[in-house]
């Protein structure tokens, strides 16, 4: 019997879901509060740990959402084909690459 490769996507889904469950409300609150500006975010993004955090949030949130949305299509009876795959996982890949390059470009 063919072994499924779902674990790869599911692990990313799980990591993103756990991260979102823990930090998403906090991140939203901080950005709504408005006390944070360019100086603070730039400082965070030039810090190695800060970079890791920002990258994890941006990328893993997308991998989590992509997996859940893709499988929810099946729940709605929609046949998830290549277009759906691109809109879900494709965007997650793109977002991961854009975040990585942006954080790299920001430097230290």
């Amino acid at each position: 019997m063919k072994r499924s490769n779902a674990p790869v996507y599911w692990s990313l889904f799980g990591a993103g879901g756990m991260l979102a469950a823990l930090v998403a409300p906090g991140v939203v609150l901080v950005l709504i509060a408005g006390g944070i500006g360019y100086r603070e975010i730039h400082a965070l993004a030039t810090n190695l740990i800060g970079k890791a955090f920002l990258f994890a949030v941006a990328s893993l949130f997308l991998w989590h959402a992509a997996h859940r949305i893709f499988h929810a299509l099946h729940d709605f009876g929609i046949r998830a084909g290549p277009v759906a795959w691109l809109l879900c996982y494709g965007v997650a890949i793109a977002g991961t690459l854009v975040s990585a390059s942006a954080l790299f470009a920001i430097g230290f």
Partner: protein
Amino acid sequence: MAARRTYTRPMTGWWKRDPFFIRYMAREATAIFVYLYAIVLVAGLSALANGQESFEAWLAMLRSPLGIAFQLVCLAVFAYHTWSWFVIMPKTMPPVVVAGKRVSGGTLTGAGVAAAVLATLVIVALAGLKP
């Protein structure tokens, strides 16, 4: 003996049949907002890489009435994500035994939600301590 002729019922609208399924669909739907919010964050990182002016334009967009409304909806949706995530989490784990007793799923959920509350406080506090 009469011939067999089984009847198969359709699955259309299955999730509307029971409140349990509606809650499940709501849980899955939280992903739409995680997706959109993450795209906004990626746009923000991109803007940050393009410099102060670009980033402040992104911040201004967040602070627009539509931006605030979107973030408030996200806040509510993410709170539901946190809750529903820790409700289902115990199902993915083998039994957790503490002091010879099996920890109930409800306790594990509570622990998860408590961790999320703590993480929220830490994030808000750290943001308050500006460099």
